[in-house]
């Protein structure tokens, strides 16, 4: 591990990579602060830039910096104008915004920054411990286990992302897998489902799909509902960033607990930072004393520190399945996985062995990113917050333009822009009907890997024999079925019970 850390330090501390971390954090903070733009949209917009850099370490460091920065920026807009830029900072606004209304905006931003820093740093330490161990175990896996593991990952994503509507999430995952089979794959070297259209010969572009699924619907929502881009109110003065010793003593155990809990939730495929932040808030509220419980929702520092440390630790945790197994734990890490594949890097257990400089540089850059966010952004927050004053008449055309440019630069093909608009309209309609979009993108990205491992297993065992002969594969596939069936069954039972109770009334 020490060798790895030294390699990581050498790579992460190169001038280019340092600039990538700083640039990524600043860009992420700026854009993440804009209400309505989540980390997935921001990373999707930044991918063409990252890919054009060419160096996978630098690209991943830049994107990880943007990711952290976006989460940090989202907290700032939650606290200052009660408009969470990202879903994972909704819980931050429960106590952050009341604090700002009481004239303690500076204090709230400091608590959020410290909690984020600690959550991210503790998460990075845990990642450093867990990831190599998991990668060593994963090296024992064969293609059959990989196939089964990916099915488990996709099922877990469907189970969590569906939030009670597993059928819809599963349908989206399958639709993503279906989209991945369009075009000429490496496996069979023959075009499939292209309907004779030349532009579909190479399949759907990952960047186009990412933009269409996240950036464009987000922009459409901003256009349809102007209250979502509640700009213009962020120009107020932010003073007194200090916190007292008592407050520091009160939040320290909260940060410790929620960093570990958030990290573990982040490791689970599909759970992610949003669930971690809400669960963190709920747990801290439940274990607080009665007097403290009454303060929750009215400007409690504990209520602010809990989701902030949990969501940052979860972000770091979601890198564990990505870096060690090559399975994205969330929509954001799915986009990062797509970027890595575009850069000819295959994340998975071999990554640590074959390209340790990438693996360790990313981990080291996480420490750096957190530190930079703390020392750079805290004094700059009053100035950065001015971005909230950008009027929507300027903001929205620029978001749309960068979305279009992302797809255009990625493929250098104007037809891609038409595909983007078409898919973006479909994605917006899917959002209207509450269909989760992250499973579609994750299914699309994992599709070819899933098929490759399935085909390899079929060839090795001359058919479906691997399903019977490899107990771990069978166990994993059974787990996948349970992950899909159980939440659906529970939701149905809860509904029936609720209906029964209503009838009894």
């Amino acid at each position: 591990m020490l060798d790895g850390i030294l390699i990581g330090l050498g790579t992460a501390f190169s001038l280019t990579n340092l600039l990538m971390v700083i640039g990524g954090c600043l860009i992420g903070t700026f854009i993440g602060m804009l209400p309505g733009l989540g980390p997935m949209s921001i990373i999707a917009i930044m991918i063409p830039v990252a890919i054009s850099i060419g160096d996978p370490s630098a690209a991943l460091i830049l994107l990880a910096g943007v990711y952290y920065g976006a989460i940090f920026g989202g907290s700032t807009s939650s606290i200052l104008i009660n408009a969470p830029g990202v879903a994972s900072t909704v819980a931050t606004s429960f106590d952050g915004y009341p604090m700002a209304r009481q004239g303690k905006a500076g204090k709230a931003l400091t608590v959020a920054a410290i909690a984020s820093f600690c959550g991210g740093t503790i998460g990075a330490v845990l990642l450093m411990i867990f990831a190599p161990a998991l990668a060593t175990v994963a090296l024992l896996f064969h293609s059959a286990e990989y196939f089964a593991l990916m099915v488990v990952g996709l099922s877990a994503i469907a189970a969590f992302a569906g939030s009670g509507q597993v059928g819809k999430a599963l349908l989206m995952t399958l639709l993503g897998l279906i989209m991945a089979t369009v075009g000429e794959g490496a496996l069979f070297n023959m075009p499939r489902f292209t309907m004779g259209i030349m532009d579909l010969q190479s399949g759907f572009g990952f960047i186009t799909l990412a933009m269409a699924m996240f950036a464009l619907p987000e922009a459409m929502y901003l256009i349809l509902d102007p209250s979502r881009s509640n700009s213009g109110s962020g120009s107020g003065e932010i003073k007194d960033l200090r916190i007292t010793r008592e407050e520091a003593r009160a939040i320290a155990p909260v940060i410790g607990r929620q960093s570990v809990q958030g990290f573990l939730i982040g490791v689970l495929p599909g759970a992610g930072a949003t669930i971690a932040s809400f669960l963190g808030y709920a747990v801290e509220r439940n274990i607080a004393s009665k007097a403290e419980q009454e303060q929750f929702g009215k400007g409690s520092v504990k209520g602010l520190a809990a989701p902030e440390s949990a969501n940052n630790a979860a972000c770091t945790g979601s890198f564990v399945p990505l870096l060690t197994l090559g399975i994205p734990g969330s929509g954001t890490t799915a986009i990062l996985l797509g970027a890595l594949i575009a850069l000819n890097v295959s994340p998975g257990p071999r990554l640590m062995v074959d390209e340790p400089q990438i693996f360790w540089a990313v981990i080291i850059s996480m420490y750096l990113g957190n530190l930079i966010l703390l020392i750079l952004n805290l004094p700059l927050i009053p100035y950065i917050a001015k971005v909230l004053a950008v009027p929507r008449t300027y903001l929205i055309p620029f978001i749309l333009f960068f979305t279009l440019m992302g797809a255009y630069i990625g493929q250098n093909n104007a037809t891609e822009l038409l595909i983007l608009v078409g898919l973006g309209i479909c994605a917006t309609v899917l959002r209207f009907a509450d269909y989760p979009l992250a499973p579609l993108l994750i299914g699309f990205i994992l599709g070819s890997m899933l098929e490759n491992n399935f085909a390899r297993s079929m060839q090795l065992y001359d058919g479906l024999g691997f399903l019977l002969e490899r107990p771990m594969t069978v166990g994993l596939l059974a787990l996948a079925v349970l992950l899909v069936v159980l939440p659906s069954y529970r939701a149905r039972r809860a509904r029936l019970r609720a209906a029964g109770a209503a009838d009894a009334d």
Partner: protein, 164 residues
């Protein structure tokens, strides 16, 4: 029928067409030597189509109840006319026009026009600020993409760059 079930119906149709291609048309072009393989190009699509049809039917037949009310932060699609629907449609049309005009009109005029027209659709009327901002932004992005990232973007209309 609720929107989510209409969508499930559309997806079901797509999956049936996909499944038809996988089961009945794809393997016709398969070379004879591949027919001895345990896996064909259609194997995985066949499995996916069956699973997707079942999942679509599950949603379509309403085995899983959707949320009765829209979430507080989301848009109620049943009352779309209460929102800025006209602006959204106009901007979608503008994006389509940008896609079609980007090459023939050149990056700089198309982008400056897109940004200025987009802002106008959203209600911006201070043209003395808007036009220089749009032109400057187009120029800066072109410079960054062309010079820093090294990706070729034709700045002027094809008519001018091709010598008329």
């Amino acid at each position: 029928m609720a929107l989510d079930r209409w969508i499930a119906l559309v997806i079901l149709m797509i999956c049936l067409a996909y499944g038809y291609a996988a089961f009945f048309t794809m393997d016709a072009a398969l070379p004879p030597f591949m027919k001895h393989n345990p896996i064909w190009p259609s194997t995985f699509p066949k499995i996916l189509s069956v699973m997707a049809v079942l999942a679509a039917l599950f949603v379509l037949l309403g085995f899983e109840k959707g949320a009765e009310d829209p979430k507080p932060m989301d848009i109620n699609y049943r009352r779309l006319t209460d929102y800025k629907l006209g602006q959204a449609l106009a901007l979608l049309a503008l994006m389509t026009a940008y896609a079609l005009l980007l090459r023939p009109a050149g990056f700089l005029p198309a982008t400056a026009g897109f940004l200025a027209a987009g802002a106008c659709i959203l209600g911006e009327r201070k043209l003395h600020i808007l036009l220089p901002v749009a032109a400057l932004a187009a120029g800066v992005v072109w410079y960054l993409v062309q010079e820093v990232l090294g990706i070729f973007l034709s700045p002027w209309p094809a008519l001018l760059t091709n010598g008329g």
